[in-house]
Every structure is written in C-alpha cells, then in structure tokens.
C-alpha cells in the first residue's frame, strides 16, 4: 500500500535548497528511520512533511491527495508528531496530556466524550504506561515523558506518526525500549512510523527501511541492502571507524 510519494526541494531562508529532488515513499505498517549527519536537512524534511513549512517545489502526496489540500483539522487527523524537546508543562496529568491528543476530534470546549476517554486509555495501554496515568508530567523521567508523547500521538489516531529524534535525550535502555515500542506499534496498529535518529546501530537492527540522507543524495533501502551497496560504509567509515556489512556492525578501533 503506497502512502506517500514525495519529490520536492526543502528550504531554509530565501530558497536555500537544503536537499533537492527527493523521490521516495513511506509504507504503512513499517518503521522507517531517517539517518544522516547533522545539518543535512533531516528536521527540515520532517517539518515539510508535517506541512509546518512550505515545500520549495515538487509534490507531496498522502493517501492519494496533495498535502497542501488538507485543512488544518484534516492534517491533525492525518499526521501525529513527537518532538525531541520536552514540553515544559506543570500540573498536568499524563491522562490529561494524552487527552489533548483528542483535540482534533473534540468540540469547542475540548470536553472528552466517553469514547475519547476509552481511546486515551487504549493509547496508554498500547504504550504500556497505564500506571502513570495519574502522575503529573513534571514528575516523569525523560523516557517516560517521551512515551507519554507517543501515547498522545496514538490518541490522535493518525495513520502516520512522525518523530524528530525521539530518543535524543534518553539513556541507552530507554532508547532501545522506545524504538522497540515504535516498531511494535507500526506492526500492531498498521501505522506509518517515520523517525529521524542518530543511534545508527539501533536503527540498523530495528528499522524496516532506512533513509540515508547525505549532502545531495538520499539512499533508501532495507538495512541489509544499504549495507550491501556500500552506502552505509560510505556514511559511517572514517579514520578509526569501520563498518562490517555482513552483520551490520560498526567497529571502532581503539
């Protein structure tokens, strides 16, 4: 099932093309990981795909419709996001925050219906954080908080979830746990999960598909195929670091 095909140029400032002529598609029920060095436009790509900033050229088509033709409300029911930064919120419970994920569906006052509350409960249990439901956001660890934001995106019931470096501030076990969670969610809920990430070894082990963004080019493939055609080695290898393509291992000389 084809979800999204894009071919466009990203910008920052006055028509500064960060990356041009990208043609790719994302599939539902899969976890795709966007990797690449800093400053190559990973975040810009994500922001453009969320319709946060205009594309410079080309087309973005989601579920057979141009992204531009979606209204704000339709977009909110199409794409859910999770960001790197943790929102600074005081005195709000986990359940309340996940409930805000229902905002595109609730009425004028934002009151949750019984059905909305049921969806919030299901989202919490999918992520495995029901016990945290009554906790205040400011008392959570970074890892827990990121799970709450993922639950928020689930409650939004969007077929697509974009995550901008969701594991950046987490400790190693939390990183693994979060990525495992996202992988499981893409399977169980048949959602399109697309995230940028710098934890290459984890990404290679868990992603269905890798988008490797380098200056001027985007290589797409399964971890194994990108390893086989040498793209990953080109990206990873430098003095003191080598890449073993047969078992996707990054080796550091010491």
């Amino acid at each position: 099932m084809e979800h999204l095909s894009i071919g466009y140029a990203v910008h920052g400032g006055r028509d500064r093309v960060v990356a041009g002529d990208i043609c790719a598609s994302l599939m539902s029920g899969e976890m795709t990981v966007l990797i690449g060095p800093n400053g190559m436009g990973k975040s810009t790509l994500l922001r453009t795909l969320c319709a946060f900033q205009p594309r410079l050229g080309g087309r973005i088509v989601v579920q057979g419709r141009e992204l531009d033709t979606y209204t704000e409300k339709e977009l909110a029911q199409l794409i859910g996001i999770v960001l790197t930064s943790k929102p600074d919120i005081q005195n709000m419970t986990v359940t309340e925050l996940v409930g805000l994920g229902r905002a595109p569906y609730t009425g004028f006052w934002g009151r949750l219906s019984a059905q909305d509350r049921q969806i919030v409960r299901e989202s919490l249990s999918l992520v495995g954080i029901e016990p945290l439901g009554g906790r205040l956001i400011q008392t959570l660890s970074d890892g827990e908080r990121q799970k709450v934001m993922i639950a928020k995106a689930l409650a939004q019931q969007t077929p697509i979830i974009f995550l901008d470096e969701p594991t950046a501030f987490l400790d190693y076990p939390s990183k693994v746990e979060t990525l495992q969670l996202l992988y499981r969610l893409s399977r169980e809920t048949d959602r399109t999960v697309f995230l940028s990430n710098h934890d290459l070894d984890l990404a290679l082990q868990m992603a269905d598909r890798i988008w490797l963004m380098e200056s001027g080019r985007l290589s797409i493939g399964t971890p194994a195929s990108l390893a086989a055609d040498g793209s990953l080695a080109r990206f990873v290898e430098r003095d003191g670091i080598s890449f073993r393509a047969d078992d996707l291992r990054i080796l550091v000389r010491h």
Binding site: S85, P87, D88, N91, M92, W109, R135
Partner: protein, 345 residues
Amino acid sequence: MKRPVWPLFLLLTAGILLFFVLNLMLGTVPIPVREILKALAGDESVPVVWRNIVLSSRVPQALTATVAGAGLAVSGLQMQTVFRNPLAGPSVLGISNGASLGVAFVVLLSGSLGGVALSRLGYLGDVAMSLAAIVGALSVMALIMYVSQKVKGNVTLLIIGVMIGYLANAVIGVLKFFSAEEDVKAFVVWGLGSFSRVSGDQMLLFVSLMLVLLPLSMLLVKTMNLLLLGDDYARNLGLNLRRARLLVIGSSGILVAIVTAYCGPIMFIGLAVPHLCRAMMRSSDHRLLMPGTMLLGAALALLCNLVARMPGFEGALPVNSVTALIGAPVIASVLFRKRKENVQE
C-alpha cells in the same frame, strides 16, 4: 494527586460575597449590614448620609473592584499561557504603558496648550482621561497585534512589547518635564490606581462592558490548553497558531485596556493571581483555571480595596501599594510551599 476543585470554587465565591459585604460595611464610617440592605432596597428610613455613602460610593467601588480584579487576573493568565512565560502579565506588552501615555497626553498637554489645567475640569476631565487611556492602550495593542503577525518567535514579540513600554514611558517623561506642576500631580495620582474613580453612568458602562468581555474570554479555553504544549505540538493538533495568538493577545489586551482606563494601572493582580490559582488547583486545565482566576482575582481586588480603606488609612493608601503588600508575600509563600512539595514527590 488531583484534588476535587468544587470546594475551592465554593470557597472563592463565598470569599467574594464576604469581601463584597465587608467592602460595603467598613470604611471611615462603619455601617451595619441591616442598614445597608435597607438602603439598597430603597428604604427611606436610612439616614441620608449612610444612604449616600452606600449607594454612590461603596457599591460602585465594590462592583468596580470585583470586575476589574477578575479582568486583570484573566488577562494575566492569558498572557502567561500564550507566551509560556511565568513573568508575563498584563503590563508586559506595554499595553498599560500605552494607556498611561494616552492619559499623559491629555492631562499634561491640556495645561500647556489649552491654558486650562485638566485636573480642574472635574467630571469632564474624568471622561477625557478614560477615553485617552482606552485610545492609548488600544493603539499599542493594535501595534502589538500587527507585530505578532509579522514575527515568529514569542520571545521576540515579548521583547518588542517591553520596548514599546519603555518608549511610552520615555515620552511620558518628556511630557512631564514640560508640564505644570498640578497636572503632573494629577497624572501621578491617576498612576497610583484606584477603584473609586469610577462612578455613576461610567461605572455602569464599565461593569457591563466587563460582564460581556469576561465570558467572551472563556471561549478560548481549548486554544489555551493546546498552547500549553508548545507551538509545534499545538499546531500538529490542528490549531491555527497565528489566529490563536491574535485572539488570545487581543482578548487579554482589551481587558487590560478597559480596566486601566477606568482604574489606572493596577499592578500585581494580573501577574500574581494566575500563579496563586494554579498552585491552589494544581491544574493546568484552562477550563478550571479561567473561572478560578476570575473568582480569585475578584476576591483579591475586593480584599485589597478593603485594606486600602481601613480606618486609620482614611483612603489615603493607594491600591497599588496594597496589592503588592498583600500579594507579594502570599505568592512567595505559595511558591515556596509548592517547591517543597515537588521535592517530596
């Protein structure tokens, strides 16, 4: 973790009623409750002096304090939410400075240009001052709204607002320098803030304006809840950021503009009440916070007005000193207690 909020709402409502009645009773001339009720009912047997005091001084003053307190508190909450800055208040965007500038123009220039000190004009002077304040405040607000559509960052907007405030103050300084002494005094007195300046028809107009605007501000609760998550998350949940910012700042600005026009710049309530309310309710949900700050703001303004009029001060104490004198320690203690609670969690 969460406590039910209805006892708090009940308590606040009771507090408003209590302070309102005390406001009618206490003052230089204490008047018993029964006589007040009789006076309100139009009973002729109440001494004329008492009737006059109650009907033409204390009732307007108490009503003014109630709606002004509510308006300032709501305005402060809106500013703090839209800028996600705990130090934001109604005065940060230069809106109250705009009001001051308007009044300064009228009060200070009328003397130098027209040859008549406005401070001697009485009622007409009061109307002119209110109008000038509204015009000043609304023009600064229009400027801010225009800027808010142009600049992206909230911090930039906040800084521009503060700069506009400084600019207005500088112009006021220049105007003061060239004005007659008695006009400067009239301006300074206006700047001290008071709930007693409004009377008669103006009071009715003020109160009815606020009774329309306060419920209107409640319409923004969902928008404000989403703004708590930060710009990107809010936008992803379907919020039109530009429009949301325009509406919240506009609503907040109009409330401040009108209150400042009628009561002068009242400090502190707008900044302090939202903090107090959040701490008391332990909630960030604006569906609770908005009515909460409204009630708390009204109660606090009534209390401050009462203290300012305590026997011994003889109405000499400016409301602004009282709001800060009562407010500052209360806020500090609430925040301090909250900090301890957070540590224990």
